[in-house]
């Protein structure tokens, strides 16, 4: 029982969130709204399926192509600042939403990347995100977009360095728990 709960704990968390949201939907528009929410979810999933396939393919091929020694040397704990900067660059350049970059981050994790490197990758994806740049400039205007970029520019490497320093040794535990 414990094992089942552990294995499906994330499923259960997501399910709980869905139930809460479905409850809110029900209170607003009855069963029709409940069904509509599920339907919209499936529709968006359908729209994003091509992106998902590309993301999973990229993650798989990366894992097969990149030798463990390369990851250890460039993105592992020993890589230090070099690894963190490299991860920032990669994160800033990779396009797509969380369902696209987390499979890739997961592939890096299981290939031996360090915690600071992974944090830097995800944070740079979220804050540097080159692919989001035109949209941010276009909709919010140059002043706001530029100031937002400037003020958050140093955060991905700094966060990577500090997390590596504070929690770096937790990476093996993280790797093991995901592989189970």
């Amino acid at each position: 029982m414990d094992k089942v709960v552990k294995k499906y704990s994330i499923h259960l968390i997501l399910l709980a969130v869905i139930l809460i949201l479905a409850g809110i939907a029900f209170s607003k528009g009855g069963w029709e709204f409940v069904a509509e929410g599920l339907l919209q979810g499936l529709t968006i999933l359908g729209k994003e399926s091509l992106l998902l396939i590309a993301a999973f393919l990229t993650a798989g091929l990366l894992q097969a192509l990149i030798k463990k020694e390369f990851i250890t040397r460039w993105l592992g704990r020993e890589a230090g600042l070099k690894g963190i900067l490299l991860a920032c660059l990669g994160g800033g350049l990779i396009p797509g939403g969380p369902y696209a970059y987390y499979p890739i981050a997961g592939a890096l994790l299981s290939s031996g990347a360090g915690l600071g490197v992974l944090i830097a990758f995800v944070t740079a994806k979220n804050l540097w995100s080159i692919s989001r740049l035109p949209l941010e400039f276009g909709i919010l205007g140059a002043t706001v977009a530029l100031r937002r970029y400037l003020i958050t520019f140093l955060i991905p490497p700094l966060l990577g360095i500090s997390v590596e320093w504070l929690f770096g040794s937790a990476i093996e535990k993280i790797r093991k728990s995901v592989e189970e």
Partner: protein, 161 residues
């Protein structure tokens, strides 16, 4: 097709060429890894998209506009951090909402806090993060990151007052 999809397919194609040149074994391994990841996470992804569907349907834009008014000061920055966590969807959804807020008079500092918080602290994103990275990673990244949107907001308020 979105530009992100096209770029990601180009990356996948380049990797495919590299794998092909590295030998049949590598390609096979790549597909095997891809399939394994897909199988492991398919159900979770479907569940996460149901969440996206509900958030999309319940569209909380109006509620948000009532939260960050003009001259909201540090309270505005604080509510922006909280709102950013809940703000759903990608940039196509979120930037127009933020634009509306700016037209309604939201200041630069809360707006920068909001964008930063949505980027790094979004709870919807965490639901995609958990399956691939595990709860320990999410817990560390999310809790250490909590302070960042606030800091950027206060810094923006100081620099560009």
């Amino acid at each position: 097709m979105s530009s992100a999809t096209i770029i990601l397919w180009i990356i996948a194609a380049v990797l495919l060429v590299f794998s092909w040149r590295a030998g049949q074994e590598t390609i096979k391994k790549g597909f095997k890894f891809a399939w394994k990841t897909t199988k492991q996470n398919a159900l979770l992804i479907i569940l996460a998209f149901f969440i996206v569907g509900y958030v999309n349907l319940l569209s909380p834009e109006e509620l948000i506009t009532s939260w960050i008014g003009p001259d909201s000061g540090w309270k505005g920055i604080l509510s922006s951090e909280f709102l950013g966590m809940l703000l759903p969807g990608g940039p196509y959804v979120v930037f127009p909402i933020i634009d509306l807020l700016m037209q309604a008079g939201a200041g630069l500092a809360p707006v920068i806090t909001l964008i930063t918080s949505w980027s790094t602290q979004s709870l919807l994103t965490v639901s995609f993060e958990l399956p691939f990275m595990g709860w320990r990673f999410s817990a560390i990244r999310w809790s250490v990151g909590l302070i960042i949107p606030l800091l950027t907001g206060f810094a923006a308020a100081l620099i560009w007052r």
